[in-house]
Symmetry: C2
Subunit: 659 residues, 2 copies
């Protein structure tokens, strides 16, 4: 009995293909022996001593012969393994001969995150956080190589070759004979779920006439409409390059991990399906969207120009120039009178070992500035992302003055090297409070690397966290201070002024549209004191949350003197800053652009400005007070609400976080 079988054997890399030849031993076989060509190696299970291999070896029911090859074949069937079977009397019963072809196959990515696609990283098939972590990274291809076009990930072809920089390179490395034996083929495949998040193109290395057409040079091979595709086997360590692009960010229903599989299929016979005899896989994570706190270096400052904000614009231009930064003005044709630059967009970025670029998160707020981020920011290496919300779910808390991020902190030993996102919501005891819309909250939480903190901001009419808090850089401690609005500090200042004989000095001094109000009159207003007691208790609540969630102590916090007033709207009593809200400032490095408070003057100087300077200047900060009374404060916002800053990314790489 001689049975000849050709078989492809994948060796080397991950899988040393094994086969228990002895399953097909002739009946009554009691012994066997093995012969093979130089590149074949084998072992017997249970193990035998070396000497036993020389003569016929006893064959039992549990005997398994495992074999593999040392290197890839040069030609098809260039190796051979034969097994002779013997009966009780060592009479030969038959021979089984296997003609062998060895192929090395490896699907490779930059699993060690150094920007280079290494060969067959043993950890490429799983993803681990941290400095000793592994697993490759994909960016959501959310920029646009051409302005005024779709996002790159919304079109299923490569528009410009520069788009490849935004994609993750994947290489199929093969070694073996010139072609695979007849009927064998390689396929690449992804799951339906993963196809909602990634898509990839292959570089066609054919020298076609239409080489110039990027569609034919880089055809799309895997996407949700096509989960599996045959890929060509190319001899040698051919650099078969694939380009993988993310098409959505991590979200509530998507943890960010995707798997790409490669299989070698073996033919069995006509009319019978092929079966996989080898599969390799790589696991990749979609990079999260990352926010940038006030402590990072500014790159660009954005404000709106409107028909009525000339004074503000002049002062902010001078402040930004003095700070040495770049001012970008969004003109009226684009902002349509909507001056709240802080509220329509949040600047962030995405990062990978191979590419990094800024990404703007567009708020579902969608007022006059609705088209600005898509039309003016999106472009080559400037990404865009938004989340659709039901119109009726969107309210003032969805403006991004209500979305901030802390500097890096360590809380009870847990490190947040990229800080923590801060949003404002209703306090849950409220039966009918306003909240940030769920789709945005879900998106923020799903990014994982800046675990959000929910503060209570619904006590404010506008309801934004930037109305009562901000962060400024500091040379000591954590490298920053938390600034909080403080009615208590306000009253303390006013009482002190009264005590010092300045009870007749007036708030709103120099403001055309307001009646100046003496300090003593304010101190005697019991209703205002009640209102501010309430506000202080709301801020105290947030102070406790911030201390706990950011690991701060009292020394990390500075209270700025700000009074509020309560107003009733829609049956709800909520708070507004009584005079310009000095905590709502623009932070450009050590330069602070602060709403000019128009406080009572003592010896010609505003006592509130003086107090703010005395609190902040010891930290090396420089305070510039900007008049935003008529054009912002009276419209219920201030300097911070009316500006926005794109900042340098963190030096820290998000994949090095310990999760």
């Amino acid at each position: 009995t001689t049975s000849n079988t050709g078989i492809v054997l994948t060796t080397g890399y991950r899988l040393s293909f094994v086969c228990s030849v002895l399953r097909s031993a002739p009946p009554c076989s009691k012994f066997f022996s093995v012969k093979h060509t130089a590149d074949v190696q084998y072992s017997i299970n249970p193990p035998r001593s070396e000497a036993d291999h020389l003569s016929p070896i006893p064959l039992n029911d549990d005997t398994v012969l495992l074999f593999s090859m040392k290197k890839a074949s040069e030609e098809e069937n260039d190796n051979k393994l034969s097994v002779r079977y013997y009966g009780t009397d060592k009479k030969m019963l038959g021979t089984a001969v296997l003609h062998l072809t060895a192929v090395e196959i490896s699907l490779d990515v930059d699993a060690d995150r150094d920007g280079i696609v290494e060969k067959n990283n043993p950890n490429k098939g799983c993803w681990k956080w941290g400095p000793d972590g592994h697993g490759a990274i994909i960016l959501v291809n959310c920029d646009s190589e051409r302005r005024w076009r779709k996002l790159d990930h919304e079109q299923d072809f490569i528009d410009r070759e520069s788009d490849l920089k935004d994609m993750t390179t994947m290489v199929l490395r093969t070694k073996g004979p010139a072609k695979l034996p007849e009927g064998y083929k390689l396929t690449m495949h992804i799951s339906q779920g993963d196809a909602e998040s990634i898509r990839f193109e292959i570089l066609q290395q054919t020298k076609q006439a239409d080489q110039d057409s990027l569609r034919s040079k880089y055809p799309l091979i895997l996407q949700s409409a096509c989960l599996s595709a045959e890929v060509l086997y190319r001899r040698g360590f051919a650099e078969n390059k694939f380009y993988v692009e993310g098409i959505r960010f991590p979200d509530k229903d998507f943890d960010g991990l995707v798997t790409i599989n490669l299989s070698l299929l073996e033919p069995i016979g006509p009319g019978i399906p092929e079966t996989p005899i080898f599969t390799d896989k790589v696991v990749l994570r979609i990079a999260p969207w990352i926010m940038t706190p006030n402590t990072l270096t500014p790159k660009e400052v954005f404000v709106c120009s409107t028909t009525d904000n000339y004074t503000f614009l002049k002062e902010i231009r001078s402040f930004v120039a003095k700070s040495g930064h770049n001012l970008k003005i969004c003109h009226e044709y684009m902002n349509r009178g909507d001056r709240w630059m802080q509220d329509e967009v949040e600047f962030g970025y995405i990062d990978s070992p191979h590419q990094r670029f800024p990404v703007v998160l567009d708020s579902p707020r969608d007022r006059g500035l609705v088209d600005f981020p898509y039309e003016k920011l999106l472009g080559p290496d400037f990404g865009y992302v938004t989340k659709k919300a039901q119109k009726e779910d969107v309210n003032s808390l969805d403006s991004f003055g209500n979305l901030e991020v802390s500097p890096p902190v360590t809380v009870n030993g847990k490190k947040y090297p990229l800080g923590r996102i801060i949003i404002g919501v209703a306090f849950p005891t409220a039966a009918q409070g306003r909240n940030m819309t769920q789709v945005i909250q879900d998106f923020l939480w799903a990014q994982k690397v800046q675990e959000p903190i929910a503060l209570f901001s619904d006590w404010l009419c506008i309801g934004h966290v930037d109305e009562f808090m901000t962060f400024v850089p500091a040379p000591d401690k954590n490298g920053f201070r938390l600034l909080l609005a403080s009615p208590d500090a306000g009253y303390k200042l006013f009482k002190s002024l009264s005590k010092q004989g300045h009870g007749n000095a007036t708030l709103f001094d120099g403001v055309e549209t307001e009646t100046p109000r003496p300090v003593d009159d304010i101190l005697n207003d019991e209703e205002l004191q009640d209102h501010n007691n309430y506000v202080q208790s709301c801020i105290d609540w947030n102070r406790d949350v911030l201390k706990r969630e950011l690991g701060l102590d009292e020394g990390d916090i500075i209270d700025l003197p700000i009074l509020f007033k309560l107003v009733k709207e829609d049956e709800e009593v909520r708070a507004l800053a009584y005079y310009p809200d000095v905590v709502n400032m623009l932070v450009l490095g050590k330069n602070l652009g602060i709403p000019k408070p128009f406080g009572p003057k003592v010896n010609g100087r505003c006592a509130i400005e003086a107090e703010v300077c005395s609190l902040l200047e010891p930290l090396g900060l420089s305070c510039t007070f900007i008049d935003n009374f008529a054009s912002y404060h009276q419209l219920l916002g201030e300097v911070h609400c009316g500006s926005n800053v794109r900042r340098e990314p963190f030096d820290f790489k998000w994949w090095n976080m310990e999760m």
Copy 2:
């Protein structure tokens, strides 16, 4: 200046309420001193030496006075703290007096998982896996205290007092004066998201006339329509009991964790909202649904009675009786001719420190047995869960013969003390394969404690993993063996028979409806050999996956001699067992109920039975061959497909898993 303020102070437990009194110091204050009643304690920040407390203490901008109380008050305002302020010359400028009422409040659950609600566990606010873990547990209240009624969690009232056993007890413990000071109140609240997963009732301790009405004795206080409710403050360590019930299992969009908050609200003034001055919280996890492998002790065996399965029923009854177990027969009026008991339901259980009961997962398959689980299994302490799927998404792979679970395993050091779930899907290289419907897959993965493995089962006509694999108990190694169907083992057996001169012995000997087929005829059928090569390669693929994902070696696997044939349906070529599929067995402890294979007879004994016995009996297993040819095999199923077993839960507690 004397300012008197009454203030509630919560002490003891989690939060020692602090207040920086010095924020309200009169202007020009340079020194201060503190007096207080016996139960008050205070500290000054930055710290001063003990001696400094005796005389007026220097007051700086950063001076903070922190105070708390040692124990709860007996009466309102029974304690006092006064601060005197002095100017430069130590002349007294004023006194601030605080009248203090201390209350101890704690929201308590069984955070240490011993079945008892301890007092104020410091870890109650977060949830941790493992033997040193913490955090309380909730069951989905998915049983029904009355048969023929809704699931308990589908009705928003307590039907019978016994229902309380299925809920998690939460206790609000308070200590303090007879009532809270005017205007203060306690509220309990949950988030909208958590309200989709839990709901809770409170025990009203009033001795009302309608005490007998469970609706008024245990009114529902929190649910999705009501996220926040005031709860009564009751003096002393009153056992204010709440009963929390889960209303849905962990799923793709729900990680199983919920938070319950308690707040103490302080009034500020008329027309001004209250603010929270203290919040306590507990975090609980919904218990996952857990499957039971073949190695667990059987409790009940289920089979269907149909018009044509008398022989089968007689043999199975005798087998189950011999094994010492309880047989439950589902009669024709209930099964409507649908005999596939394995396929309509999967038995599992849910577990907590306070309660445990079986829960049946009802397949979306929904054929004749559709009403059986709801009508015959659901009842007191027998839960029910199902997942709705789109009708067009449901196919044969959604039957639960395609849902199994391994015994406990350790894989590369990672422990799976509850085993791993096993399902069958299409191999993803297939363009149009069948898969288990996504809602069921999502549910299984979300349970987390038995991390699923997806095998390739779409190569079979019926497409169930139980057609090619099962687990049996073993006295050694991992405590089990994996049995795999093996065409190679089948051919080896048949060749051996031929060699031994039994080439004329026939398969299907004694089967009325089949033509007996000689061994040599089978061996000469090259097409059948091709078919079985294909099947072997499909099973080998799964063998590799199982070895890798369950940490098995060849010695953990036993190959049973089974041949398959390929048939073409809907343009797809798929496999069926050629003779009764002996791996598709019913495992009751050491007793195996195996489909009678009707193999070729040697000396009057079926050679396949003999081979199976020789492979399994050395493990201490007892093989009983059951004739299911006409009533199951010819309808494309076998003993396992036609039966189901409810088993004892694991001794191991799922919350002790290391995740």
